[in-house]
């Protein structure tokens, strides 16, 4: 049953992150679908992919976005 929870968090996280106006929040919320997908990989019997995705999807990618936001502008015009 727990897969369904991750499914819902992944989809809702994606929608909610795209709906924010504060771009720093967007960047941080991107980590939620990333981490949920990592858990889904684990339940799909792929622990090594899950490890990679956990690092890339929930840490590196949001940090990239956050850095880009800090170098550009924070609020959507």
């Amino acid at each position: 049953m727990i897969e369904y929870i991750f499914m819902i968090t992944a989809i809702l996280g994606a929608i909610i992150s795209l709906m924010q106006r504060d771009l720093l929040k967007v960047a941080i919320l991107t980590g939620i679908p990333g981490a949920s997908i990592a858990f889904l990989y684990q339940y799909l019997q792929a622990p090594d992919v899950a490890l990679t995705q956990a690092i890339v999807g929930s840490a590196i990618v949001p940090v990239f976005f956050a850095l880009a936001v800090l170098r550009t502008r924070r609020v959507e015009e």
Binding site: Y41, Y43, D48, V49, T52, V61, F64, F65, T72
Partner: protein
């Protein structure tokens, strides 16, 4: 109950691709556009991984002490997983390049709105 995992993964993949395509087409902010593109990539990867899943199977890593016959009958199909590892890294690097271009364009235009920068 067992097939549910694959179904959930496929549904998530489809939803992420749809959200991503909508976001990439209709959002005006460039950083949000790039985030939407990252979602499309995630969805495609998730779809690829869910193909290798075997209901009731075991992880495809052969550890010492496992029975060979049991492993070869129950392990999930490892090829898609190997491909996805490459694909995740490619997606992250493409995204980093796009963000770099956006930072430079912001210096030039003072804005990260797609209609201002890309619209001609």
């Amino acid at each position: 109950m067992i097939i549910d995992t694959q179904l959930a993964a496929l549904f998530t993949a489809g939803a992420l691709i749809v959200i991503g395509i909508f976001g990439a087409l209709f959002l005006d902010n460039l950083i949000k556009k790039v985030i939407a593109l990252a979602f499309i990539g995630d969805g495609a990867n998730l779809f690829l991984v869910s193909l290798g899943y075997k209901a009731g199977g075991i992880v495809y890593i052969f550890l010492p002490g496992m029975a060979m016959s049991n492993f070869s009958q129950n392990a999930s199909y490892p090829l898609p997983y190997a491909l996805v590892l490459t694909s995740i890294v490619i997606g992250a690097s493409t995204m980093a390049v796009m963000l770099g271009i956006i930072i430079i364009l912001n210096k030039k235009y003072g804005s990260i709105s797609a209609s201002k920068i890309l619209g001609e």
